[in-house]
Every structure is written in structure tokens, then in C-alpha cells.
Symmetry: C2
Amino acid sequence: MMLTHSLAMPGPHALMPDTTGSDQTSSPAAAGRNLLFLREEELRLAQDLLFFGYRDFTAGADAILGELGMGRAHHRVLHFVGRRPGITVGELLGILAITKQSLARVLSPMVTQGYVLPAPGRADRRQRLLSLTTKGETLERQLFERQREAVMRAYREAGPVAVDGFRRVMRGLMGAAARTELARLELPSRRADSRPQPTAERG
Amino acid sequence: MMLTHSLAMPGPHALMPDTTGSDQTSSPAAAGRNLLFLREEELRLAQDLLFFGYRDFTAGADAILGELGMGRAHHRVLHFVGRRPGITVGELLGILAITKQSLARVLSPMVTQGYVLPAPGRADRRQRLLSLTTKGETLERQLFERQREAVMRAYREAGPVAVDGFRRVMRGLMGAAARTELARLELPSRRADSRPQPTAERG
DNA sequence: AAAAATGTGTCAATGATGCTGACCCATAGT
DNA sequence: ACTATGGGTCAGCATCATTGACACATTTTT
């Protein structure tokens, strides 16, 4: 699994007005410093949690993918194409936020191997509307089931209130673009959306 | 930036006993199906959230790192060495769960360039106790501040209850090994721990 | 109808991260 | 002394993502 991550934090070292000890939250000033300090600690913890949590979340699926000579990029394609059957290549690029070339490297073989089925667009025949074949759906479900356990366990242990909180925070971590993409994903998969949205071709 | 992730889910297609409509939660059987269906949807959403959230969380820091010719692997080293000054190479390998060789590729240059300072262990002189130099701390803080905004915003918008829930769920997503590592990180950084724990040398 | 823009595909080259397998050295422990 | 451990390093390989430049078909604009 690869989840590349990215964490970073100053560490328990330096740069924080600590005033060593005296944390009785008595004076307003102390409370202010305390608050700042807590936030620093909280952020550090958040980074740890995201690193470990995301890594382990993806671990199971990666194992299956590895045996098929695939990687996470393939998984993402399976996931999002499954989520929005009939999605165009451009939309997929927008969601994944990778270059056309990066997508092509994983998508082409998946079409060739019969996991993904492209169909010419009706309104615009230049488009390739992507959807999963039965084979693709089967693999996606297999990957899903593998991750299902971990998420189910986490949700069950944490409880519904925590799950709601989890969602709120994750949503908050996302940038504006991602929130938009997410919102579209949550809608009933309706193709030929209004806003054509600029292709994420950064290459 | 590279955020590799990994998601997977069956998609809105197939394999779920839906019974189309009738979701009044009236009969126990219907409630059961309903629950399953909700869980499926919830899991799909969880995958979306983790993908987008994690990606955007790391985006800011990646930009800074890129200008310095570094990547996320460097960031992780800065983060965890900063979190536990005096950490040994073996402990770091255990936390990152990568091979010695993979770590060496990023760690060696960081030592050479003066971001990380290794010191021979007192009890065991074979060990290299790693800590950040002032230069390393400065960079780590810079990266931290970049991520701080996103996390602070997410926490603020979500509220304390949600933050607690977020933590519970993320913790639940972690495997046993990660939970152990996290627990150790949260302790007052005490070196020379009891349990020597097997080196994560998988190569 | 000609020109410009758009959706996709593709070639070539590069970089970051990770892995496996195999060794080597210095220090510890028995 | 012998073995185990912490750590380093070399060689080679795979995945995923990047940039830059073209090519082709179709749609839209002028």
C-alpha cells in the first residue's frame, strides 16, 4: 500500500510559548496559552491519526490489487467509475486530480483487460463514457469487502455520533474543489452535467 | 503532488438486496435490509471522504517540500523525529513500516544536509539516535503551519464533539500495530523502551 | 466553410517512493 | 570466540505521478 502521506509538525520541541507548567486555567492569559498549546498538540495528533489511519485503511485492498498486478490508481478508477457509471474521462480526471497521462496508464489496461467499458457519448461523440463491466464490478466489490471490515469496525466501535463527527472533520479538511466533487458524487449519478468544469490537465 | 490513496467500493450498482423503495423501517426485516443498505452507502462515503480529505490535507506541505527537492517521505521523517527526539532508526522503521533501504534514501541526505542529527546511543553505541537540528525544526514547523490552517479550519467548523468523533473513527481504522505505535507516540518521549519490538525489516 | 476549441490518446523522459536480495561493519550478548 | 542485532549500502525493479509535445476526431465559433 502506498499511501503516500504527508505529515508534519514541529514536534514537542520549541517555538511554543509554554511557560512550563502552571496550567490551572486560572488566569485568562494562561487559558489563552493553554488553548494554543492544546491546539498544537491536537494538530500533531491529527497528523498521526491521518497517517496511520489512512495507511491501514488502504492496506487490505492493496494486497488484493498487488496480486492482480494493479495498484491504488486502479482501485480509484474502479471506485469512482463504479460510483458514477457513464462518467467521462474528463470528469474522472477532475476527481482524481492527476494528469491525463497518469490516468491513461492505468485506464487503458483496464479497458483492454475488460474491467472498464467505454462507450461513445451520445451528445458528444468525442467523449468516452466509462462504466464497469461485470468483471470490474466483481473486483471492485472484492476490494470493497476487504475494506469494509475495517471501516465497519471503526464505525461500530466509535458509534454514530463519532461517525458524524468524523465526516464533518474530513469534509472540513477538503478544499473547495474536493467538496464540489464530493457533492456531485453524492448526487444521483446524472451525466451531462451543466457545468463542464475545466479539465484537470496540468501537464 | 502525489497523494496516492486507495479507495474501493462496489458502487451504486448491483449486489445489494435493495427491494426498491419501501423504507419505512416498519418491519424488522425491512429495517435489517435498510441498515445494510445504509452501511453500504456509508462506507462508500467514507472512502470518498478519506480520499479527498487525506489528499487535500497533504497538498499544502507537498508544495513546500517540492521546492526543496523533498517529498512526503522526508516530511514523515521530520514529523516523527520531531515527535520523538532521540528515536532510533529501528523505531522509525517500525513507525513508518517501510524498509531500511527506503528510509535510508531519504534519511541519509537529510543528515548530510543538516536537517537531522544522529548521535550514537549511550546504552548501545550501535544505535543512531535521531533528532532534528534547528534547521530541521524550522522546516518542520514551516510544513506544520501550512497544514495547520486546514486542520484548524476543519476542527473549528466541525466543533469539539466532531473532533472527538473523528479521532475515534481514525483510531478505529488503524490496525493493532499502528495503535501501539500511536500510543507510544503519545507518551512522554521516553527512549530505551522496554519492548525492543522486531525491526520492520521486510526486505 | 474555415478556424478555433475541446475531449482523448500517446510518445518520451524524469522523479519520488517503495520493494527484494545480498552483503558488510561495528557492537552486544552469551 | 560465536552469534545476534543495529545499521548502512549496492544493484535492480515496480508503481504512480509529472512535464512537454503532438496527433486525431468532433464540436463550436466565427
